[in-house]
Symmetry: D2
Subunit: 327 residues, 4 copies
């Protein structure tokens, strides 16, 4: 039975910890600066509260899950890598490109697997779109539209330390784009505005953005982001190709329609990432554990985290200059 | 150019008169007890106002369209038949079975074509369902669900002279059922209630009803009627067979969705028969004219009007007795 | 921690056993005539293999789950009731009405809770339809259409001992009907045919059926069954009322559309009850455990099993006589 | 009764001529270099064949419809304007910006109304989206996605004289964008590729393109074009705003679904512009005639043709330079 430790007992930490248990692996330790949170989660999943040194020093711990705050990721990755432990880390590795590269070099040197938590690759809708694409259902891909809108904007103080929309939010879409395009973008154009919340603008960020990516083959991909959608979490992908179009739409919880004087009404999409991606988080953890057990090859490479961040950096540059950026 | 005359200048008369014009035939006369209505429509379509005698006596009139009140249908049919004119008549021929049979005998003797206005056979949705069924898309038909609800109940005085829900409203569904089943029902069970408007009950009728038809082959067909639907005209057919299901749903006018905090909303269906069956009325008239020109064989026989009325009678009998009726 | 034992280690047993574990209760014993199946499931969920006597005799076992073959249900219920244990039993209690009544009397005398596994009440779609109905979203209910088709017919030998379509399959729909109508049907008309598989006819059963239920208030409910649907498990409910219509449609797994030369294609529904009702089984067990813990009132009464069976019996009678049956 | 003359008896000419008749106006002359086409259409609608001089000289002709080839538009507009006739002209006025401006100056000087055939403004879906937007249904507009794909690429020789994708095809989308944004774009970025047909590349054009428009307020609009879509004419608009999203989707002809082993299939969209925009063409002509009768104010200004062409020019410039263009 694989033994793991987890850094972070917040929202996402609770998801991962329970999924580890449900998949039949053992979570030995929970580490969190918030002692109450650590204690609560540890009790719930039958783990012990520990600190970083303890986790790193325990040879029984084969892998760590890093779900703590972004600024701790790189240090924890390096410590775990040095101790020879496999790593599952929430995106991003770090908000700084140089630090990210250094960190990956350390991982590379240590020869441990580093798995970045790009959960959307494990969403049933997107995974089946990817599969259909790979199976040639629409022939050669020619255009990709990724729409991604959060239900409500984050608090301004979160925005300030988030690294900005491109590194915090669109980074998931950049990963989706790279994954589905099947080749690296060579050109990027980014535009952004403050339309949702002036506080986000004051924090130096945008809350609405469009990015156009382009591959060497001339395939174009539009990514559309907003920090707020009145109808809830909007997560859709349209892949257009020579033989047709694949559409992974939003999903609702119950498939109940109400026909009334007001119209023909369906339900809103699943509210936010915890609901929409519940299955994805579970499948992602199952996959990570299968990789540890040597039963699967990782579907997300450490370099995927770096590549997505590089696109986010390029988007920031394009936004600033107002011009397209060659990659 | 085919020359026609029309009895009736009401709502349905206006539809037919304009469709005759649009199809390039000539409407020579309009007859209506309401002189103002007759005058108005005649002016609009370039016809003359006339009375019955004039129309029947004019040898130039090759065909008549009967869209006047139900109690005039049988007499007009007989008069036109005797004069050797082709006939397009709105359903029903008459509310009385014996009168209907006598009328058909007269038509038969005269050897003129009598076309009953079962417009739904010409609706694009239902016609394509019929076509797909005939083409074997779902294999052998095993079950049929016909849902038919009006947006709002008729006034009580209309109900009183309508002949009742089965002869006035469900008669259209009986025709759909016969047309799609492809064999005559041998058994019928009808239930009805007054749930929408007590005035309808006082007029001796029901406003909500379900009928189960059954063929010799054991295919079952449920017809579901209501005199009122808050969301508008509900006209749907589900045909289930060995290889699948065909679903002809409601149609809306614009295909506009609104996604908001209140949900994912589509438009209501086209409001009532004038809107929903506009294309059907046009296609029906085009077909009638094509038959007159010898370019098509009639898709609706005079006997179809009789058969549907017989089912309505049987439904009344079943409703009264509370038991199934063998046909 | 509630301690339970389970009879039956087949398909449905595996679902229940895992749900008990996931809900944090303890499954102490697994009983099954098939020793291999018992052993396999017991190992998977950390239970012991036992026989009936052992389970009944163990005072630590507070409740039993009965998921063994139908002919064992009544005896097991009575044994467990006598021992003062709470009972969760898959439908039906017994195929025989008299035996069912005797069994319920025993349960009543023992004063233990008996929960019948009408899982569909816990399906998110149907539960939210029920909730919306209760909240008055469509006003007074006027008509109900329940469509229920299996993806593929069962083997003929299953049919022979199943009790027939009405007691084996439509019994679920009868429960749905009673639950949603909110009043007992007073009249029933049933028709059935052999259209899918002649072997089912040879076994004395029908494979296609329609039943019309009617309440004292005049609300009509059509139930439509088939043992086979080419597109998979068809589980839909339409509730029509004075203010509109609630439609609980089929659900698919991934919400992926393919637009191609062949048309606009969506996915088929979740294949069969294990997939479609996975959430319902989980919620049902959670509810049963909550009831045991005194945290919820049972949403399914023992008498619900009897009432549904009575409707199935009446349907058999109506099918035989060809006439409606008063209840 | 308004009297009109029409230049052009091709596909679009046939549509307009019949719509004029259906709207109760009189089409006196048909002009076309193809004598057979002119004769055929003139006969069909009861008009006479004439040449340009005749039309211009006839004082009875109050308005002309220009549906001839693009290279004749500007000259015909000027001639008609000088003669004081109202003008309905298919887009574009001319492929050359300077020529377009000169032509508009002539129209302006003559003081006659010039109506550009931006038919999509009259499509029921898009018109109702515009209306809902204006009524504040989604609050302030924040993002706009216009997807526009033809079913099949035009022949290479058409491409050669079409003025290129931006002036020939996307010009319609530019008009939609301006119309819906409600303010002029101030910045544009265009990318295009040859993915569909190498012959289009050889003709110096692209067949796949994405353009990002931006307003001074920071609203972004993506336009996505392809010259080929396997599933037919793809004409969709998504307007996203602070209170939700408006989605004008594709429309099909019959609303028939087929559920089978292959999936849940709907129909393909209406095949191409003649089918999809049939209602729009009719409404557009009705509106033009209403304007002539002084009963409506023109919904499309002559300058709209110029503005859309300017955007197309800017797109060509951006495509060439690889950089965004300020407008």
């Amino acid at each position: 039975m694989t033994v793991l430790a987890q850094f972070g007992a917040g929202r996402i930490g609770q998801i991962h910890a329970r999924n580890v248990a449900a998949e039949g692996a053992r979570l030995k330790y929970i580490v969190d600066v918030n002692a109450t949170a650590a204690k609560g989660l540890a009790t719930a999943v039958g783990a012990a509260v520990a600190d970083q040194e303890q986790v790193i020093a325990d040879p029984e711990v084969a892998a760590v899950i890093i779900g703590s705050s972004t600024d701790t990721h790189a240090d924890l990755i390096e410590a775990a890598a040095e101790a020879g432990k496999a790593i599952f880390c929430e995106k991003p590795i770090d908000l700084d490109l140089a630090r990210t590269r250094a960190c990956l070099a350390a991982v590379d040197k240590a020869g441990v697997p580093l798995f970045i938590g790009f959960n959307r690759r494990f969403d049933p809708s997107f995974a089946s779109l990817k599969e259909a694409l790979g199976a040639g259902r629409i022939g050669k891909l020619e255009n990709l539209t990724i729409t991604s809108r959060d239900p409500a904007p984050p608090p301004a103080d979160y925005v300030a330390r988030s690294g900005g929309l491109f590194r915090d939010m669109m980074i998931h879409d950049f990963d989706m784009a790279r994954w589905l395009l099947g080749e690296e973008p060579v050109r990027l154009y980014a535009r952004g505005s403050v339309l949702v919340d002036p506080a986000i603008g004051k924090a130096g960020d945008v809350d609405s953005a469009v990015v156009v990516l382009e591959t060497a083959a001339g395939v174009l991909c539009q990514v559309i982001n907003s920090r707020r959608a009145a109808y809830g979490y909007d997560q859709r992908i349209e892949a257009f190709g020579e033989k047709g179009l694949l559409l992974a739409g939003n999903r609702d919880a119950r498939s109940l329609q109400t026909w009334s004087e007001a119209g023909i009404a369906g339900e809103k999409p699943l509210y936010f990432f915890l609901e929409r991606y519940a299955q994805a988080y579970r499948a992602e953890m199952a996959h990570f554990l299968a990789c540890l057990a040597g039963k699967a090859q990782p579907k997300v490479a450490a370099s995927d985290g770096l590549r997505a961040l590089e696109l986010a950096e390029a988007a920031n540059e394009s936004l600033k200059s107002g011009q397209a950026v060659s990659l």
